[in-house]
């Protein structure tokens, strides 16, 4: 275990920025912290990077608790690199910027030159050595920051929202670069992002942090399909979240009473349990007429709103409760859907994810 974080809290003034964060990251793992802006991601990375000291809680690095003395902290910090969300470059050449980490470690000149050249090549900035770092574009600056962090081969690489300030065209570029660095350097990476999908693309494991609390850590797929709390469900895009009470349970098929409307789902919870039923919009099927299907939940309704984006259509339906379906634009056209159309909405019992309240 490279990193163990225990009951970590951070407080600025009277407000708790981080509350009881627990986290373990294995050597070689890529762990992505996902959360909305202001959720405490940067604060957590600054604590892990030993830039700040926590209000309470412990961090163990390589099995050893992070010490208090400045000298020992510096020694540990030199095994970690951080790339900030808005990287600042020193008022110097690209070469001097990338060489910085090696110089403070008193690297010999010959190997320093080789390492800088290799790092610049990795990020695709060979030939930029003599350029003034402050004249670079946002994407180039980000790449200098990555080169500067990887050049001393840190055991732990921390990336704070590495693509948040980039134009969309550069994002996939930098993402590709990050995957390449992860592969080449064979290092442990902790990255933060507000983009759930980016987390899914790059992570071995994801932790979701909302309002300073780590709500769930698991593999990327599970976070989407089985969020463990209502705010998490909202964050990962379960747009249909209904409050209800389990009315009955027959062999693991439960009926949930949501304001008089019964839903069927799979669960082992006992009747009387208070729950949220979450249905992802892409799990909802629409049909113009009532058909016999295997789906356990069928509701007649009226289309109240349609929004097209790209090849998809987001259809809001009033079934006595609001339900959002995500279908292809083509299907919507073939069915002639428009505001006011009467249709049937279907979803399977297995498409309903239940969260205990």
């Amino acid at each position: 275990m490279l990193l163990e974080v225990n009951e970590l809290c951070q407080r600025f003034g009277n407000s708790d920025i981080l509350k009881d964060i627990n986290l373990e990251v294995e050597r070689g793992e890529t762990f992505v912290i996902v959360g909305p802006t202001g959720s405490g991601k940067t604060t957590l990375l600054r604590l892990i990077g030993l830039l700040d000291k926590p209000a309470s809680g412990t961090i163990r690095f390589g099995g050893r608790e992070v010490p208090d003395s400045a000298r020992a902290r510096l020694e540990l910090r030199r095994r970690i690199a951080i790339v900030f969300q808005r990287p600042a470059v020193f008022n110097a050449t690209v070469y001097d910027n990338v060489a910085y980490g090696l110089r403070v470690r008193k690297e010999k000149r010959a190997s320093l030159r080789n390492k800088v050249a290799r790092a610049l090549e990795t990020v695709g900035l060979s030939g930029y050595e003599k350029r003034d770092a402050q004249t670079l574009s946002g994407g180039e600056t980000q790449r200098v920051a990555l080169a500067r962090a990887m050049v001393f081969e840190p055991e732990l690489l921390l990336l704070d929202e590495p693509t948040a300030n980039l134009d969309p065209v550069y994002i996939s570029n930098v993402e590709r670069l990050i995957s390449q660095i992860i592969r080449d350097l064979d290092t442990t990476v902790i990255m933060s992002t507000h983009d759930m999908f980016q987390g899914q693309r790059l992570a071995d494991r994801i932790g979701v942090i909302i309002s300073g609390e780590m709500l769930q850590t698991s593999d990327p797929r599970e976070i989407f399909s089985r969020p463990q709390s209502r705010s998490l469900a909202e964050f990962v895009g379960s747009e249909n979240i209904l409050r209800g009470v389990i009315a009955s349970n027959e062999d693991g098929i439960v009926t949930i009473d949501t304001d008089g409307i019964p839903l069927e789902a799979i669960s082992n919870l006992d009747p009387g349990s208070e729950v949220y039923a979450c249905i992802r919009p892409e799990e909802v099927i629409l049909a113009p007429a009532k058909d016999l299907t295997s789906a356990r939940n069928t509701f007649p309704g009226e289309v109240s709103h349609i929004v097209l984006f790209g090849p998809l259509a987001r259809v809001e339906i009033d079934c006595g409760f609001p339900l959002v379906a995500l279908i292809t634009k083509k299907s919507a056209e073939e069915m002639g859907l428009q505001t006011g159309s009467c249709i049937y909405a279907y979803f399977k019992a297995t498409g309903v994810h239940i969260i205990e309240r």
Binding site: G49, L51, A70, L74, R77, R78, I80, A81, I82, F84, R86, P87, A88, V89, F90, N91, Y100, G101, V104, R105, D132, Q134, T135, R148, A149, F152
Partner: protein, 235 residues
């Protein structure tokens, strides 16, 4: 009006014929003020770093006090240094009152608070991200301080130059602790003061022009370097 023009012509003559006494006074003035600036920078910059990079109680008050000292009258510093280095004073045993050395010391006392305060401002002007970046890349405290200081190099240089400007232009301190001894502690400002009171306007004016030129050269060279390097950056 014609008197003034005559004075100006005489002044230029004195300068371009290289009058040995005038040149000696100019060289001494430059020597004393440059030494004072050097030693003041040697003291002020590390102290400014200590103040800027540490959090302690009373930091704001300390900076306010420093800023108050920007405006300290030169005669007050002169008096203080005089008392300390006079025969009966605590450092009277050194016997350096009315020497160039004590003038350097006085100027150091005069300009150090100014230089320290302005250097603290210079360091505060560097974005905090630079400090974080240095630390995150493995810099120790000294290495980090050095990096931030390098980022603030032009503003720090300005602080040093302003200190130099105050040192070379002051007269009260130089007279009180230097004594305006001909060939020994006479500087451009003290000489001007004396010559003017004796009615030698031409000589005084010549000294004034030299003083202004010296100050101008010392101030202009660094800012010329700065402009050149920023132009290179823009390219």
């Amino acid at each position: 009006m014609s008197e003034l023009a005559d004075a100006f012509v005489t002044a230029l003559k004195l300068i371009f014929t290289g009058d040995p006494e005038v040149m000696a006074v100019a060289a001494r003035t430059l020597g004393i003020s440059c030494s004072a600036t050097f030693f003041a920078a040697l003291i002020s910059i590390p102290i400014a770093c200590l103040i800027h990079f540490n959090h302690f109680k009373g930091k704001g008050t300390l900076i306010s006090i420093l800023q108050t000292f920007y405006a300290i009258p030169t005669v007050l510093v002169g008096l203080l240094v005089f008392i300390i280095f006079s025969r009966a004073g605590p450092l009277g045993g050194l016997g350096i009152l009315f020497t160039p050395q004590v003038m350097v010391i006085g100027q150091v006392v005069l300009i150090s608070p100014l230089m320290t305060g302005l250097t603290v401002s210079a360091l505060s002007g560097v974005r905090p991200e630079i400090r974080d970046t240095a630390v995150s890349l493995g810099a120790g405290r000294l290495q980090m301080a050095r990096t931030v200081l390098v980022e603030a190099k032009y503003a720090t240089l300005t602080a040093v130059l302003i200190g130099f400007g105050r040192a070379i232009s002051e007269v009260g301190l130089a007279i009180m602790v230097g004594g305006n001894i001909r060939g020994f502690t006479r500087t451009l400002t003290t000489a001007m003061s004396l010559e003017t009171s004796m009615g030698n306007i031409e000589l005084s004016m010549a000294l004034g022009i030299i003083l202004l030129s010296l100050a101008l050269i010392v101030i202009i060279i660094p800012s010329w370097i700065q402009q050149r390097s920023s132009r290179v950056q823009q390219r």
